[in-house]
């Protein structure tokens, strides 16, 4: 390999027969460099093989009372790392939130908030006149903020909020079990009936690991009684009796159901403010409204028109259910918590956020187009929905103004009944898309249908004010 130390006897021995020291030194250094690189590669391969062998290391024992996400994070550092990143505030074209600085006060110590939606679109104040949402409504922020944003919203100042809110604004699994003496639903009912401030003292964390995972197997589970009872009622409406979500749902269904525990339409039933998901007839907007009509539910009486109206609340789960992704078996987690490669490990990204901020992992796993193309497709859908949403908002504000003037001119309740019922209907339909956090993307055609019907109801309401003989056509 190197210089030959035994030259032929006829020639004199000497350095001339051995390669020059300089070349030998270069060879030695180069070989050492190659060895170093190969050793580094070897260690890298070794690490990957180890990662593939054991996907997690149990450092601390977790049980059904471990609430602190940091403890879970010791066993699952990758997932915990992502979970902590939900503090990020990033805008997309139609959603998300940028961080606005604010001067902390004694009542509200937050130094950052998201932009006010009411200032961005003052028509929302008209739609919600007389309701706490007309006082303060901001862009939604990440999971990390759920507890403090609800504690400090000005809606707390204008209305006594119930403990029911906490079902989805805190980690309530352990508090419910404690309050209910081991009975989750009993604890849920007890906290629902409390004042928000009293119930708030019983919870400690925003949504945490234990809310979606069974601690010994990490299997997904539903812990929110609102969903457990709601999906049971929905399945019953389809003829499936005695549905138990934690027993009967498939793994892929659970990857949507754990999100659907909270990202849904709901209302507070009766004076005890029991939280109910209105799915007794089905998940579509007209089925939900038919349920509210059947139980005579009004969230409030509209301050300008006197109509009994409803506030739709982020019906993401219901809307997604009407869309092509749900139909194709794509779960919430597939796009909002896509798989992430960490060395040889595959983890689901617990940095829950808009897929538009993560197009490669969220969309390109199935759709073989460039990131620019996929983003453009999503935004084209949202742009079209947003345009019609604005038309519907104008139509509704027009109807509200007309009813208000009719009221001032002395027309009585009997005369205003039909326009008011059309306002209730138009408003709930519009809000169903407005409050839904995808600007229509979760079910584009369904969102457009709902908005088109909202425009129709608002304009029919205006006709009914002008022509007492007009009979509105209301699709069922």
């Amino acid at each position: 390999m190197t210089g030959d130390p035994t030259p032929p006897a006829t020639e004199p021995a000497g350095p001339a027969r051995i390669a020059s020291p300089r070349i030998l030194a270069v060879v030695a250094v180069a070989a050492a460099g190659v060895t170093l690189a190969v050793a580094a590669l070897l260690v890298n391969i070794f690490e990957r093989k180890q990662e593939a062998r054991s996907t997690f290391v149990r450092v601390v024992a977790l049980d059904d009372t471990t609430q602190d996400p940091a403890r879970w994070g010791e066993d699952f550092p990758q997932e915990y790392d992502g979970y902590r990143r939900t503090v990020d505030m990033v805008r997309t074209r139609f959603g998300g939130s940028e961080a606005l600085p604010r001067v902390p006060t004694a009542a509200d110590p937050r130094d950052t908030v998201s932009p006010s939606r009411l200032d961005a679109d003052p028509r929302l104040r008209t739609m919600w006149a007389g309701y706490a949402f007309a006082r303060d409504f901001r862009e939604e922020r990440g999971h990390a903020y759920m507890l403090e944003d609800q504690l400090y919203t000005e809606r707390q100042a204008v209305a006594q909020q119930p403990g029911s809110c906490l079902q989805c604004h805190a980690s309530v699994y352990v508090p419910y079990l404690r309050a209910g003496g081991g009975d989750l639903v009993r604890g849920f009912r007890l906290l629902n009936a409390m004042h928000y401030q009293d119930a708030r003292r019983l919870v400690q964390y925003p949504v945490s690991c234990i809310d979606c995972h069974e601690p010994s197997t990490m299997q997904l589970r539903v812990t929110r009684p609102g969903f457990i009872l709601g999906i049971r009622a929905f399945k019953a409406s389809q003829g499936i009796r005695d549905y138990d979500v934690n027993r009967d749902a498939t793994r892929q269904e659970m990857r949507s159901f754990v999100c659907g525990q909270c990202h849904v339409e709901y209302y507070f039933q009766g004076p005890e403010k029991q939280l109910v998901y209105p799915w007794f007839n089905g998940l579509r907007v007209e089925q939900i409204l038919a349920y509210y009509d059947s139980v005579g539910q009004n969230d409030w009486v509209h301050a300008l028109t006197g109509a009994g109206v409803l506030k739709a609340q982020h019906p993401e789960f219901e809307m997604w259910n009407q869309g092509i992704h749900a139909r194709s078996g794509v779960a919430c987690a597939d796009c909002h918590m896509p798989y992430l490669r960490v060395g040889a490990m595959k983890v689901s990204d617990h940095h829950v956020r808009s897929p538009l901020l993560n197009v490669n992992r969220s969309c390109q796993t199935c759709h073989r187009f460039s990131e620019e193309e996929l983003l453009a497709r999503a935004e084209a859908i949202q742009e079209r929905v947003f345009r019609l949403r604005n038309q519907a908002m104008d139509a509704l504000v027009g109807l509200i103004g007309d009813i208000e003037s009719a009221r001032h001119s002395g027309r009585g309740d009997a005369d205003l009944a039909t326009p008011r019922s059309l306002q209730r209907r138009a408003q709930f339909y519009l809000d169903f898309v407005e409050a839904e956090n995808s600007t229509g993307f979760h079910a584009p055609q369904e969102a457009q249908r709902i908005l088109a019907e909202a425009v129709n109801y608002a304009r029919q309401g205006q006709i009914a004010l002008r022509d007492r003989s007009f009979r509105p056509s209301v699709a069922r």
Binding site: M1, I18, P21, A31, V38, L41, L42, A52, Q364
Partner: protein, 159 residues
């Protein structure tokens, strides 16, 4: 420089030679061990499992196991050219690129096929399915040709 005795130069030359030989030997030994440990020889063969050795292709491998082509073709049949030289040239080229990308982590997630390798796969579809393809292939519009895997994306790996 007559001041330095000839013998000293020979001794230092021998030491350096031994050092260089030792260093090369160490490189060869570590390299050889790494090759065996990383199952390097498996990459020269035809077994589809070898392509998932380094974990990155695990999903593609799992998809292939569930796909229709698992009983007709292995990775090499669609992802390397037919002839001996072409096959090993492409194996060598992609082997280097993959090793580099996966060690450094510098690649697009989810992993995407390159235009060059897509071309190889397209040609391999047409070679096996020549009877059918001959009847449908041909220019579409202004010199565009149809792509097999644009529509038959699940043929190789079930999605």
């Amino acid at each position: 420089m007559p001041a330095i005795p000839r013998g000293t130069g020979a001794v230092s030359g021998t030491v350096l030679s031994l050092l260089a030989a030792g260093a090369i030997g160490a490189a060869a030994g570590t390299g050889g061990f790494t090759f065996v440990y990383a199952r390097g020889a498996s990459y020269l063969g035809h077994d589809a499992a070898a392509c998932a050795n380094c974990h990155i292709m695990q999903e593609q491998y799992a998809g292939w196991l569930k796909g229709s082509h698992r009983s007709a073709a292995v990775c090499n049949d669609c992802h390397t050219p037919a002839g001996f030289l072409g096959k090993y040239a492409v194996k060598g080229l992609n082997g280097f690129r993959h090793s580099f990308a996966f060690t450094t982590g510098w690649f697009h997630e989810p992993i995407q096929i390159t235009a060059f390798n897509r071309g190889i796969t397209e040609r391999r579809c047409r070679e096996c399915h020549a009877d059918i393809v001959d009847q449908v292939a041909g220019p579409h519009g202004r010199g565009e040709t149809v792509s097999c895997i644009r529509c038959h994306a699940s043929a190789g790996h079930l999605q």
